[in-house]
Each structure stands twice: as structure tokens, then as C-alpha cells.
């Protein structure tokens, strides 16, 4: 097992996934903001709302194409770089990806063309329907991707089949209604709505500061403030933690992000500061607020939050049990009718994945020494300092957005668009939701390590049989291509923002309540 292949494959996946997710949140949120704006246009018939919709639609388009372009890579990367993973779990994991294409991406991609090109070919209502289908499609797309990801975090409804040497589905409904997947879906799309609201609010604030396009900016500000307040509450309140109490590894994730080395008497305190150390397996300079973690994580005064040491001890016993399952599978490979082996496999099959952790330390898990078993058990602890800090940044930003949108909502209901300190702040914080979203993914995926599929398949066994030069070729290739496109995208976005809406509304006119006219301009 060449760890360089694994590390490079992980690096490429992380880079391409995090890059893809720079564009996805804005698509998720802006599509619904467009629906809101266009609905107002259809209901009131006021041309200014058409201009508002078309302006944000233009920015939506510039962002959308890069989401699509980078999504192509994601769909195939499991096969190219994670070949053994694809074989091992394709029976379950492939289904949500296929359904995503069939029921979500087709919808989104087929209607998005009509959304841009159908303004003079469709009735108002038909065009609104088209925009709505784009929003539904992109959000359903997120649902299926998170059903797939949720299964990686909490693999329900499946079992290992020694005849085909892979996981196979036993209950599709439980894969679909996986509580982790549902929680992740709500959390992720809400994060997208927050991102889009911050973006719309920030750009509108910039126009208001400059005194340009104020009619468009004030209306956009109002929509973004209300939508942003609702979604920032949703992203925090309906947050991600509902899955943590479910399984050992989600418990490990919780313990790791809290840097909680030992189980504490319930209810546990939450650390607001600390310097976790992987070597010493302890946290220095910890500042704790009592009771809060226990309340959040278990929603009770008596529920215990298990510590890392206790979870590692549990992992150790699961590894020992897994070795029995591993041995049984090896025997079944030789003779599929070995009844004794079949029985032992059935008893220990849930721990098979834990035995596979040993492959990193011993060629044959059955020959592992107690010392190797202990090392394998400790390998179930993800990178605690990264988890600890990434979580604090993400959650801190989440609470900040609630406060921010409360203020924005207050100003918009009072129709006060002249608080320059707030407008300036709104421009400066535009990058923050992206940081929160990317950190959220780092938390979720680093926290799942060392597993590709929690408790089932270690990441280091999932990669393809590639070579280091092949991997560097694609990593450098994707980086150059994506880097170039990112520069172009940001420039076009800024140019489009500077240029403003295509349609000329004299701001004074709109202020006086005069309906602005629409005259198509020749294309550039």
C-alpha cells in the first residue's frame, strides 16, 4: 500500500470538491432568490422587478457554469481515483448519484437554458415556472448528493456480501431516509441560502454606497435581508449535530471537534478555547463553559458525551472482533460453502471494516500483534486540532450571520438604506459564508477519517491502482485549469457587477413609483 498514492488522491479529491463547492452554495441560494424576485414581478407586474430578476440572473449564470463544469469532474472522480471504493460500495452509493442525474440535474440543466433564452418566448408565468424548476432541480441535486454523502457517514441499509466482496443494499428506504443525510441536506442548502443572501446583500450595499442602481439595490437588499434571516436561523438551529449521537464514529467526530479526550460526567462542558495536542493526547489552556455541550449534543441533562480514550478502547475490541470476520471471509473465498466460516462471518460481520484498518500496519490482519491493534485503534481518531478550530470558525460564523441579518432585517423593515457603516460591513463580509461552507465540508470529511465509509471501508483501501506521476499530472492539470477559470470568473463577475443591470431605470423614476420601461439592448 503506497501511502503517497492515497495522500495524493485525497489531495486531488479535496481540491476539486472544495473548488466545486465555491460555486454550488451560490447556485442553491440564488436560484431561490431569483424565484422570489420573479414571483414579485409576476404578481405586481412592475418592470423594475423584471430588471432585478434579470440582473441577478446574469450573475447566477456566470457562477452556474463553473458549478456545472467542476461538477463533471466530481461525477467521474470516484471511478478514476477511488476505483476500489467504487467497486466496494457502488451497489449502494451509485444509486443516489444516478438518481441525482435523472431527477435533479436533468431538470436543472434542461430548464436553465430556457431561463436565459426564454424571456421573449414564454409567458410571464411560464418563465417563472422555468426559474422555479431550475431552483428545484439544483436543490434536489443537493439532496441526492447528500444522501450519498450521508451514507458514507452513517452506512445504513446494507451488508457485506462475501460472494461479491462488496457492500450490497438491503433496504433502500433506510438509505433514502438516513437521518444523517436528512440533517445534512437541510444544513447544506440553508448554508447555500445564507451564502446567496450575503452575496446579494453585499452587492446591493455596494450600489447603495455608490448611489448607483439604487432602485434595484433597495429591492434586492430587502429580499436578501428577509431570506438571509430565515436561512441563517435554519442553518444554525437545524444544524448538523443531530447525527452525532448515532454511531461510534459520529461520536468520535463529536469528541474530536470538542477535543474531549475523556468522558465527563453528564452534562459535559463545552470548550470555547484550547490548544489540543495530538502527541500528548490532551488539550492545553482549555476554557470551558459547563453543561452546554451535553445539552447541545444529547439534548438532555443526563446524556453522556463519550470521550476519545473510551471510543478508542471500543474500537480496539471491534478490531479484535473484526479479525474473526476477516478470517471467515478469507475462508469463504476458498470455499463458498464453508458453513462454519459463514456462521462466524454472520456473527462478526459488522466489525469487518475495523479489521481492515490493520492493513495499514500488518500485511495480514490475522497476524496482527497487540501493539499493531492498538495503533489501528488510535488511527480511528481524526485530526483533533483541525477539527477543534474548523468547527469553532464555522459555528462562530453561523452565529455571526444571525446577528448580521437581524440588523439587515431591521434596516430593511424601517426602509433605512443609508447606514453607511452597515453597508460597508455588508460589502466586506461577502467572503465569509464561503469560508464557513468550506470549513463545514472540512469538518465533515476530515472528521470521517480514517474511514471512506464509516466503520466499513478505510480511506487508504479505497484508492485506484495509479502511479504518482499520473496523479501529479492530473493534480497540476486541474489546478492550472481551475485556477485560470477562477481568475476569469471573478473578473467577469466584478465586471458584471460594475456594469449593473442592462435595462436602464432612472433611479429617480423608480423612486417616484414610475414603472420603468424595458428596451432590449443589442448584445455586446
Amino acid at each position: 500500500m503506497d501511502m503517497a498514492i492515497i495522500e495524493l488522491s485525497r489531495l486531488q479529491f479535496a481540491l476539486t470538491a472544495l473548488y466545486h463547492f465555491l460555486f454550488v452554495p451560490l447556485t442553491l441560494g440564488l436560484s431561490f432568490i431569483l424565484v422570489i424576485m420573479e414571483s414579485i414581478y409576476v404578481m405586481t407586474g412592475r418592470e423594475i422587478w423584471r430588471t432585478v430578476t434579470r440582473f441577478w440572473g446574469k450573475l447566477f449564470g456566470i457562477n452556474f457554469v463553473l458549478g456545472v463544469a467542476t461538477g463533471i469532474t466530481m461525477e467521474f472522480q470516484f471511478g478514476t481515483n477511488w476505483s476500489y471504493f467504487s467497486h466496494y460500495v457502488g451497489d449502494i452509493f451509485g444509486a443516489p448519484l444516478a438518481i441525482e442525474g435523472l431527477m435533479a440535474f436533468f431538470l436543472e440543466a434542461t430548464f436553465v437554458g430556457l431561463m436565459f433564452f426564454g424571456w421573449d418566448k414564454l409567458s410571464r408565468l411560464a418563465h417563472l415556472f422555468t426559474t422555479f424548476m431550475v431552483a428545484v432541480g439544483s436543490n434536489l441535486s443537493a439532496l441526492w448528493i447528500l444522501v450519498a454523502n450521508g451514507w458514507m457517514q452513517h452506512p445504513v441499509g446494507s451488508r457485506f456480501n462475501p460472494e461479491t466482496m462488496r457492500m450490497e443494499v438491503t433496504d433502500f428506504m433506510s438509505v433514502l431516509f438516513n437521518p444523517v443525510a436528512q440533517a445534512k441536506f437541510v444544513h447544506t442548502v440553508s448554508a447555500g441560502y445564507v451564502t446567496a443572501s450575503v452575496f446579494v446583500l453585499g452587492v446591493s450595499a455596494w450600489y447603495l454606497l455608490r448611489g448607483r442602481w439604487t432602485a434595484v439595490a433597495k429591492r434586492s437588499f430587502t429580499v436578501a435581508a428577509a431570506f438571509g434571516l430565515a436561512s441563517s436561523l435554519s442553518v444554525v438551529v437545524l444544524g448538523d449535530e443531530s447525527g452525532y449521537a448515532l454511531t461510534d464514529n459520529q461520536k468520535m467526530k463529536l469528541a474530536a471537534l470538542e477535543a474531549m479526550w475523556h468522558t465527563e460526567p453528564a452534562p459535559a462542558g463545552i470548550a470555547i478555547f484550547g490548544l489540543p495536542s495530538l502527541q500528548g493526547r490532551e488539550t492545553h489552556f482549555e476554557v470551558k463553559i459547563p453543561y452546554v455541550l451535553g445539552l447541545i449534543a444529547t439534548r438532555s441533562l443526563t446524556g453522556e458525551v463519550t470521550g476519545i480514550y473510551e471510543l478508542v478502547a471500543k474500537a480496539e475490541s471491534r478490531i479484535e472482533s473484526g479479525i474473526v470476520a476477516y478470517d471467515a471471509v478469507e475462508r469463504l473465498k476458498v470455499d463458498r460453502n464453508d458453513i462454519a466460516a459463514r456462521e462466524r462471518f454472520e456473527t462478526h460481520k459488522l466489525d469487518l471494516g475495523h479489521a481492515m484498518l490493520l492493513k495499514r500496519f500488518a500485511a495480514d490482519p490475522r497476524q496482527a500483534t497487540p501493539e499493531q491493534i492498538e495503533r489501528a485503534a488510535w488511527s480511528t481518531v481524526p485530526n483533533v486540532p483541525v477539527m477543534f478550530w474548523v468547527f469553532r470558525v464555522m459555528a462562530g460564523l453561523g452565529f455571526f450571520f444571525i446577528a448580521f441579518f437581524l440588523v439587515a432585517f431591521y434596516f430593511s423593515t424601517r426602509r433605512r438604506f443609508d447606514a453607511r457603516w452597515f453597508l460597508r460591513a455588508a460589502v466586506f463580509i461577502i467572503p465569509l459564508p464561503w469560508i464557513a461552507a468550506e470549513f463545514g465540508w472540512i469538518l465533515a470529511e476530515v472528521g470521517r477519517q480514517p474511514w471512506a465509509i464509516e466503520g466499513v471501508l478505510p480511506t487508504f483501501l479505497g484508492a485506484s491502482s495509479l502511479t504518482v506521476p499520473q496523479l501529479w499530472t492530473t493534480i497540476i492539470g486541474f489546478t492550472l485549469l481551475y485556477g485560470t477559470l477562477a481568475v476569469i470568473e471573478v473578473r467577469l463577475m466584478l465586471a458584471a457587477i460594475r456594469k449593473g443591470p442592462d435595462e436602464k431605470h432612472h433611479d429617480e423614476e423608480a423612486e417616484d413609483g414610475v414603472v420603468g420601461g424595458y428596451a432590449p439592448l443589442p448584445a455586446e
Partner: protein, 382 residues
Amino acid sequence: MALPLDYETLRIIWWGLLGVLLIGFALTDGFDLGVTALLPFVARDDAERRMVINSISATWEGNQVWFILGGGAIFAAWPFVYAVSFSGFYLAMFVVLAALILRPVGFKYRSKKPDPGWRSRWDWALFIGGFVPALVFGVAVGNVLTGIPFRLDGDLRAFYDGSFLGLFHPFSLLAGLLSVAMLVLHGASWLAIKVEHGPVHDRATRYGAIAAVLSVALFAIGGLMVWKGGMGFRIAGAVDALGPSNPRMTATVAAAGAWLDNYGRHPWMIVAPLLGFAGPLAALLGIRRKHEALAFGGSSLGAFGIIATVGLSMFPFILPSSIDPASSLTVWNSSSSHLTLFVMLLVTLVFLPIVLLYTAWVYKVLFGRVTAKDVASNPDYY
């Protein structure tokens, strides 16, 4: 749980659906690839190029989903095929993905600046986004027919002996060129339907006629190479069509000329290669007679026939291994579980008709030729 369809039937259905997806991709996104591959040649100035681009700008994105869905469906129904082929074709796959990534941005960003240098760079990016995938897909199919150098170990982990340059040999290059000719013909036929009469239309039909002749010639030479070259694989011993999906449990051997076996056993299958010839010829006739529906129908039938020929010749093989025939992936040993195939079939039966329905509606709304006037006056056009 007892399922109403047995495992063997479901495997055959999903083999058929794999064909439906590949053909769906070739018939829809195929003309987008062909159109962008033709872009620098059929359109000389910016106004002409914008006509060509706007003939597909509103629909190419939906068409591309056939490709994405193809990836997802192979993953769900044929996980071994997904795992082995995409990692085995690693660098080729990277080249295809990089080329395809240029398309969405090319369409959208080209129009954002009037600068001719900017637009010309995106035109060539779009050309790469059309030509390169068309070529590499064909090269990949050529390699599938001759066998891929992979083997599976006892844990069913795949290993490869091939190299990127090893993918390019005379037969696979021929298959690549056939794929380009077929899709260029399809793209030219689309332009014939979709672009107003004038210089672009004339050039498109001229290139289309050349591509039609090349399609027929390359398809014939390819057939001869399969026959004379004695390509093919055969399953030795009993087939367990209901057995577990484990390639190590079936015995496969390389067998000269086996790719022609099926036509002897099932003479009706000869319809596929006949369509592969008749389609491009009908398209050629349509181009000559200025009957554009016939041209597009002919190029569609041609693509259908050519892809179906590959599938039927190889049945039940999907990915034969050239270095370890016992590792070869077939319809009987590389599918998902019985339950997954069944559930995914239900999902497909519900959603594919809906997809076809709204796709048809969108094409209906956008029906009509793109004119130079539209391009000059409509602010939404790229």
C-alpha cells in the same frame, strides 16, 4: 424479498439501458460536440460564429446530462465497469474531462467581452471541447473492443498494465476517427436544421457530406479489421446468469473472431450494422436533396446503428481484459445486486419519461431557425 423480475432479465434490461444512455448521449450531446468541433470551420466571422453557438446554447446543457447520467447509471448498475474503466483510462479520462470543462464556460464567457482575441480563444476552447471528447470516446471504444490490460486480484481490486500512449493503436485511432466523423455529421445535420440558409448553412452541409462518406468508409474498414484481425472473447464453460457478480467466478478466454459469433446465432442483429451504413447514406441523400429532416434522421440512425453494433457484437462482454481474460467483465458478472437493479429500474421507468417530456417541451419552445437578425438584436443571445 421476492422481486417480480429475475436477476438474469434485469441484467439484460440494464445492459439495454446502458445502450439507451450511450445512444441518448450520442443523439443529443453528440450534435453539440459535432457543432463545436465544426465551429471554427463553418463560421468565419463573429456574427456567423454566434449563429452557430446560439443554435445549441439553450439546450446543450440539458443534453450534457446524458453524459453525467451515463456515469451515474454505470456506477449504480455496473459498478465494476465504472471502477475498472474510468481508472484504467485515467489520463484519457482527464483529457476528456478537461475538454468538457471548457464547454460550459466557453459558451457563457465568450459573449461577455467584445474583444476579438478573447472570443477567438473561446472559439478554440469550444472546438477542443467538441473535437477532443468525440475522438477520445471513439478511441476508448476501440480499446474496449480489443480488450483492456487489467486484472482483478482476490479482493477484486483492479490493476493495469497499460499506458496512456498505449491506448492509441491503428484500430483505436480508426474508432476515434469514426466517432468524430459520426458526430460531425450529426452536428452538421443539426446546423442544417437549425441555422438559416446562407453561408454557414452551406458550409455545414458541405462538411456534413464529407463526414457522411467518411463514416461509411471508416465503419466498413473497422468491420473488416474486427473480422480479419480475429478480435473477440468468448466465455468458456457454463454461464451462471443468475450467479453473484464476481468476475473471478467465471472462466473467459480470448477467442479469435468471437465478435462475429452473435450474428451467426441471432441473424436479426445484422440490422444494427446495416443501420450503421444506411444512416449516414440517408443523411448524405438528405443533404444532397436539401431535405434536412432526412439528413438529421439519417445521422441519428447512423449513430444508433454504429453504437448498437459495438454492443451487440460484444454481448455478453462489457469490458474484456487483454492480459487476463479471466478478469473480463460481462453482463453476468459485473452488475449491481438484484435489488439495486430492480429499484433503479423502477426509478428509471418513472423519471426517464418525465425527462423526455419536458425536454421535448423545451425544444418545442425553442423551435425555429437561428437567424443573423436574432443574433444581432436579441440581448439574451450569447
